[in-house]
């Protein structure tokens, strides 16, 4: 069993990541192992166009996750107070972006925001809007799942002591939801960082996120540079996820 596991798991899942990592340091890969150790790809991947793409991705992902978190949490909280029939309808509407292919979300955003009254085509906002739409469903799902598990005793106790609904929300509900909020934020951020399909339909030339740059590099045959940019993308995502999970552990101590 052990051998089966090692034979299946390692080559399939660990190898791809290691291969990309190995290739990012190589000039040539025509044998079993890459050859020609170099860090030149990283110099290219942390400068100029690539550096700008990194900031673009970070800004887009941060903006999209915050927007998605705010909208998704609001919708989940509002839905929880509704009658079951309305709640189901609202939940279904907010989950819908998950079921719609992200290419179609890109196309729809492009069609809608290329004509007046909302002419946003060619600006960075169209990318941020599309990313927010794509990740809101994840934020909404994880917050409403957490809300369903929440023990109503806390808010009932707070309310019975005379706290106003706003105070209950701010001091009892949101702190209790904080772990799932940060988890949702991390998920949204990671998804937005790696989003390619809708972005390919929308990105203006001066707002190129990292995945588009990686595609452009591999498309013109610069596979090794593309790998270095991909490693930068993975590292940035992991660092942010790590930071977000630290917030979560700090919050759980309180």
């Amino acid at each position: 069993m052990w051998a089966v596991f090692l034979v299946l798991f390692l080559p399939l899942f660990a190898l791809p990541l290691l291969v990309v990592l190995g290739a990012s340091f190589a000039t040539n890969w025509s044998g079993v192992l890459p050859s020609g150790f170099t860090t030149a790809h990283y110099e290219a991947a942390t400068r100029g166009e690539a550096l700008q793409a990194l900031t673009t991705s970070l800004v887009t992902a941060t903006a999209a996750s915050l927007l998605a978190l705010a909208t998704g949490t609001w919708a989940a909280l509002a839905a929880a107070a509704l009658k079951q029939r309305y709640r189901k309808a609202l939940d279904a509407l907010f989950v819908l972006p998950l079921a719609v292919p992200s290419v179609v979300v890109g196309l729809a955003t492009l069609v809608a925001f290329s004509q007046p009254p909302m002419l946003l085509n060619g600006t960075r906002w169209i990318v941020i809007i599309a990313h927010s739409v794509l990740v809101t469903a994840f934020a909404h799902q994880s917050v409403s799942a957490a809300l369903a598990r929440l023990d109503p005793a806390y808010e009932q106790a707070a309310a019975s002591l005379g706290a106003s609904p706003a105070y209950v929300l701010w001091r009892a509900k949101l702190p209790l939801l904080l772990p799932s909020l940060t988890a949702a934020a991390g998920l949204c951020f990671a998804l937005s960082m790696g989003e390619l399909s809708a972005t390919m339909m929308l990105y203006p030339p001066d707002w190129t996120p990292l995945p588009v740059l990686i595609y452009a590099a591999t498309d013109r045959g610069a596979l090794f540079t593309g790998s270095a940019v991909a490693v930068v993308l993975m590292t940035a995502t992991l660092l942010v996820l790590l930071a977000v999970s630290r917030i979560r552990t700090r919050a759980s101590y309180r």
Binding site: V32, L82, V103, V104, V105, L196, M200
Partner: protein
Amino acid sequence: MTEVVRKPRAVLGWSRPPGGSRKSSTAPRPFGALLWALPPLALLALVFLYPLALVVQQSFQPDTGGTSVQPYADVFASSAFREALWTTVWLAVAATVGCLVLGFVLALVIAFVPFPGAKAVARFIDVFLSFPSFLITLALLFVYGTVGMANGAWTGVTGAAEGPFQFLTTPWGVLLAEITYFTPFVMRPLLAAFSQLDTGQLEAASSLGARAPRIVRQVVLPEALPALAAGGSLVLVLCLNEFGIVLFTGAKGVTTLPTLVYGKAILESDYPGACVVAVVNVLISVGLYGLYRVVSRRAGA
């Protein structure tokens, strides 16, 4: 579970639910609650529902003007569309079957064979899922590409001019990448289901003389079926809509519905055609996603 308990509801109008319900006593009155639901709903309508409606509208408006089903007739008649539809469907079904088989075996090993790294593996799966799918294709380019690892090793050993692995730009390359990327999506619900499995059942079966394959077939598999169904239908939807993997293989011969939408809209500027393909893609995908929600609710996932 609470839904079942709450079934006997007040008949007339809105009344406070009985104690223990998840509806809080601090909830605003029904009208106020509806009012609170409006802002996020309006935002969603503005940036998602209205654009989607525009796509449907534009799919009925050919470039020549007017409103007709001409774009649909054109697209359905084109062989490119029919080929893309067929490729999308068989790739998604094959990838789902592959993910189910592979994910079942791997989850079985992680859950029931005690070894020290199981927790690390579970964590690794989470990290793996947070990376974009096209990284897999990028890696496969180095492993099986024309000058990659496998072909390089082959030409080095045999002295041949070309390696035997040329499948990367064919549908098989896409299939391999999709199975690799989406298998963890099956493993997660399975691992959750296995963790709830009563080990007493397994011990009873084995003390009665059942061998491992029989235990898997008659005890583990029935317990895992709901999780398999939920994971499988999710992967089916994700595979139908996969774009990055197909784009990165650079295979001109492999066109799926999402890449056809991209090609028609961005490369050919044929917006009515792109909208028609998009509508078809959305219908298939939303239908299957609805199925997934029903199945996964049954599975309790």
